[in-house]
């Protein structure tokens, strides 16, 4: 009888969903997820199969409140020079991790380091899954 090697292999393996796919599943529910290392009492981001330094596999998925502070920012000229500029920034999230994102709703050159921002899930596109972007807290009220 023919064996489905893929199915057997999947049963034998420990990890059923990659860290990236789990992250994206949360994004699809409108949530910014991160991991928390229970052994180290520290957040882990980007998501991994083990915590850096300790190697702990005791990682719990948590959902961020989505609030943060702009740490660094740049206004990017599109490679196709006739397209609009866009923002890319690093944000220190209140739960204690840093991530790349962009600030929307205001001109990129109005994005200032230290600005308080809140997450909004971008719907993504045909080939792009949903992903978190941010808007100024003042603007969101």
């Amino acid at each position: 009888m023919a064996t489905d090697n893929t199915a057997v292999s999947m049963q034998m393996n420990e990890i059923k969903s990659s860290p990236l796919n789990t992250y994206i599943e949360y994004c699809k529910k409108g949530q910014l997820a991160y991991q928390f290392s229970l052994d180290d009492n520290k957040p882990v981001f980007y998501p991994r199969v083990v915590a850096p330094k300790s190697g702990s596999r005791n990682l719990e998925w948590r959902v961020s409140k989505g609030l943060g502070t702009v740490y660094a920012t740049t206004t990017t000229t599109d490679l196709a020079r006739d397209k609009p500029v866009y923002n890319v920034c690093l944000i220190d999230i209140d739960e204690g991790f840093r991530m790349m994102s962009r600030i929307e709703d205001i001109p990129s050159d109005a994005v200032k380091i230290g600005m308080r921002v809140t997450m909004r899930m971008h719907p993504g596109g045909e080939k792009t899954p949903p992903y978190p972007v941010f808007v100024p807290v003042e603007h969101a009220k």
């Binding site: 980007y46 920012t73 990017t76 000229t77 991530m99 790349m100």
Partner: protein
Amino acid sequence: MSQTTLKRGSVAIVGAAESDLGQVAPDMSPVDLMAQATMRALDDCGLKLSDIDGVFAACTQLSMTTSDVCEYLGIQPKYQDSTRIGGSAFMSLLAHAQLALQSGLCSVALITYGSTQRSMTRALASPRENFHYETIYRLRSPVGAYAMAASRHMHQYGTTRDQIAEVAVSARKWALLNPRAWEKDPLTIEDVKKARPVSSPFTVRDCCLVNDGGGAIIVTTAERAKSLKSKPVYVLGVGECMSHRNISNMPDLTVSGAAISGPQAYAMAGVKSSDVKVLGLYDAFTINPILFLEDLGFCPKGEGGRFVEGGRIAPGGQLAVNTSGGGLSYCHPGMYGLMILIEVTRQVRGDAGARQVKGADIGIAHGNGGVLSTQCTAILGSEATV
């Protein structure tokens, strides 16, 4: 790399040469350029191809770089290493060559690099790697990462746009003294600021060139170096630090791993920053020399912008930095670290022509790779300093 194993002055760079640079003949391959530079570097010291028994090479276009080099040149190496950590790889390879030479694993080491990224485009020569958590935001990498480091430095320390632009202006002044430099025209702070925007605060003039080019250095034991026709340039100290891979994981965007690699190299060399007469600081972008001057101890943290003002690192200034014209104005063939080692070697030999720094007996060649990710420092010295 353990600096307690490596011995100050145990090996020396005895041959150093560039290949063709800038825009090379159509359909030249990276290994064509490596071979050309290798023969020039051998001519420089009087060794033959058959003397090379250690091969150290890295190239974004050749995933098995040392295999390509050895096949092309007909070398069956006793020892080889293709470390790939971006533009700083060549300072790291110098440390690895030192370890191999000291251990007797080889006796004459070739370190070589070549790129045809201008001819074949950067997108093909250095394909982007996917990292979802950054790629999805369309960061223009590497420039956007360095631009964010600049934004943070400006915010935290009051570094000004003009100070950052002055790094490019100083590099251009040095390039005008170097006949092999790509850029031939003067540049002002206003020119830098008014150039085409790329990723704020940077314009295209804050970014390194995209050139073809390559080079080679020959390294051997201090003992063997003494019998050769060239003036040996000794490896006094080396250090390296890998702080992150992606910019969103850099612990502090205003402090590079040079703050770790520098002190390692100083400790091994037994020298201080004030002993260093000439500096090659990997200037992929204008913020780099500012960060590295701070992290290598030439000024306090946060003072780099003010430090470079008033032509201090330009020809005639108090500190000679990037005397070839740097990656900004001389030649940047993708992984520029080897070109820095070649220039600092020439300066320490006293062979740098119109741009020679007087009394340049100790020099620093500092390499940077990725997005400030890997930092490798080499301190080179003349015979008198050993």
